[in-house]
Subunit: 359 residues, 2 copies
């Protein structure tokens, strides 16, 4: 069944008002809007019909209406109007984007904190592998008597290292030999292809440095098997700033007992391929503890074989348009930064205006 234009307008108005007030919306409030030209009685009739259709709900008989999950979904898919970031907002986002650290994990964690601060809601970031990783290059560096640094470069351009301490000391040339063997036999293999037999073979041909081999392989396997980087979840407490959790601390607690880092790290898999942004509205979430909770996720590019996700967690009554706009801005600029490569601050972004702002 199709909605009339007026019904769409009313639904949109109700979502907009409810999002900002967190109170059920009455017919009077809608009628009072400048671009609504009919009386509250008419609105009441339409509201009754929208309720009939399952797009609105009534907390109790004599209260205003609030959007139902289906109502939110319709709003997101069809009615939501692009939110335009104000100049002030763009400016503070830009200031925020001057990341300090050069280390990837720290950057991701900083980004999460930023997003959380800018949206005033809990946020997370996570990096996910797009395809299976393989080792690209091994190096063994002598760092002192009995101290060896293993450096491992993966196909997704990640570099991992590990300091290994051995009771016996190994000669420089032995290390070279082992490194050569590793590079010859352990590169370009996925985690499954690395077997016990292979380990034996390597150990045999590795010469005096062979005690190192199992340690190297363990570490390599650990690195290859990581499907995603750390989940950086921050600002959980900000959920309490939302009226729906004001006097329901337990609920907020429950949310994050359910939505733990494990669950979050699996969320990117839910994202459809056809767009960078995805909404999980209330009960669309798998777990019933999250029935009043929504998640907005946005994908962004991190070079080779990796993709990043930033997400925001909030009550179902959430300013989807605004959050989407902010996340989009982050995602876009992070993508640029990672592509260009960010040694310094994001150069293109520091001037305060985005190209798209030009009239």
């Amino acid at each position: 069944m199709e909605l009339t234009d007026r019904q769409k307008q009313i639904l949109r108005a109700i979502v907009d008002i409810y999002v900002s007030t967190a109170e059920p919306v009455g017919s009077k409030a809608v009628a009072a809007l400048p671009d609504v030209s009919c009386s509250s009685a008419t609105i009441r009739n339409e509201m009754a019909e929208l309720t009939q259709m399952g797009l609105l709900e009534q907390p109790h008989t004599s209260a205003g209406r609030i959007p139902s999950p289906a109502g939110y979904r319709l709003y997101i898919d069809e009615l939501m109007q692009d939110y335009r970031l104000s100049l002030d907002e763009t400016r503070s986002l830009n200031e925020a984007l001057e990341l300090k650290s050069q280390e990837f994990d720290k950057m991701m964690s900083q980004v999460g904190k930023l997003v959380s601060k800018m949206t005033d809601l809990p946020a997370y970031t996570v990096a996910t592998r797009r395809s299976e990783a393989v080792a690209k290059h091994f190096d063994l560096i002598m760092a002192g008597p009995g101290s060896i640094i293993l450096v491992l470069m993966l196909s997704d351009d990640q570099v991992k290292n590990k300091l290994i301490k051995l009771p016996v000391s190994v000669s420089e040339s032995d290390l070279k030999l082992l490194a050569a063997v590793l590079n010859a036999s352990l590169t370009d293999l996925t985690a499954e292809e690395i077997t016990g037999e292979l380990l034996e073979k390597i150990t045999r041909s590795a010469g005096p440095a062979s005690p190192l081999a199992p340690l190297v392989m363990d570490f390599t396997l650990e690195c290859l098997r990581q499907q995603h980087g750390d989940v950086h979840l921050t600002g959980q407490m900000r959920l309490l700033g939302q009226p729906e959790y004001k006097d329901a601390a337990e609920k907020a607690q429950e949310v994050f007992e359910t939505l733990d880092e494990d669950m979050i790290s699996n969320l990117p898999a839910v994202l459809p391929k056809d767009g960078p942004v995805q909404f999980l509205v209330g009960p669309e979430n798998v777990a019933k503890e999250l029935k009043d909770t929504s998640v907005v996720m946005m994908r962004f590019d991190i070079g080779e074989g990796m993709q990043g996700t930033i997400g925001v967690v909030g009550p179902t009554r959430m300013d989807y348009a605004k959050i989407t706009a902010k996340l989009g801005y982050f995602a876009e600029n992070l993508g640029k930064m990672f592509q260009k490569g960010g040694t310094a601050a994001p150069p293109a972004l520091t001037d305060g205006t985005d190209a798209s702002d030009k009239e």
Copy 2:
């Protein structure tokens, strides 16, 4: 003024009862304890005196007593009885201690989660430098055309790396030369001793690889300047499980607005040299937002030049004895793990930072 033995016994009983019930303690409840052999009237008299001395407080005229901050302090310093971990508790602590990751930062983060889970309170971990760090060893590895991996070993046994991408390609021998120059002139220097002039000098003598030099030095400086590792703060939501925050979500929010990672990372400086454990009881905390919040911190050893801190945040009414026991157990075993730090499971400091940011 000295306390009589009986007064001490009563104060201890009141703290113990209050800690477990979170309700003001009445004279009857104390008198009912098996090892108390006087009547409630006597207790009342003693309680009046303890209140006089500022060790107890009365929420209102006709309520029981609760310990004052000074009362908690006295309890911690003199009256607290060692809590003995039960077999069950030790067992689950042991199970928990089987850390999965080999990377240092991930281990610290895991430890934090564990501590939080085991104490059912927010917890944090942080690694701090004991002394100023210097670079010990540089290595430059060719990872592909225009891709160079910088490996940097610090005096505290941390290993950092960074993937650098250059538009031009550099020959293997040029890299060797630059590495040699770096090892000759940039090692054993503190961050202050690394100056612009030095950079110029290095750039001059570095030959064709000289464009790399400033990037290397930037990164080195960033690493050296880090006084402490990431602060891993987790389980904030568990604070809401405490009755004092049940209907005061804002308060909980305030706590973590004040006690952010910045503040936490500076807490270890407060620890006295003479003991591994430190209590910050309510108003002893600097910020007034934390006047009802206590922190228990415990130090532990991580090899060379580094020290770890694990901390637990909770309401002033906190089971100091139990928390201390659990933290102690963690600290002891983590210390062992890090010291052993040989080849087996939990390794010496390994910085698993990946450096997939590109140049």
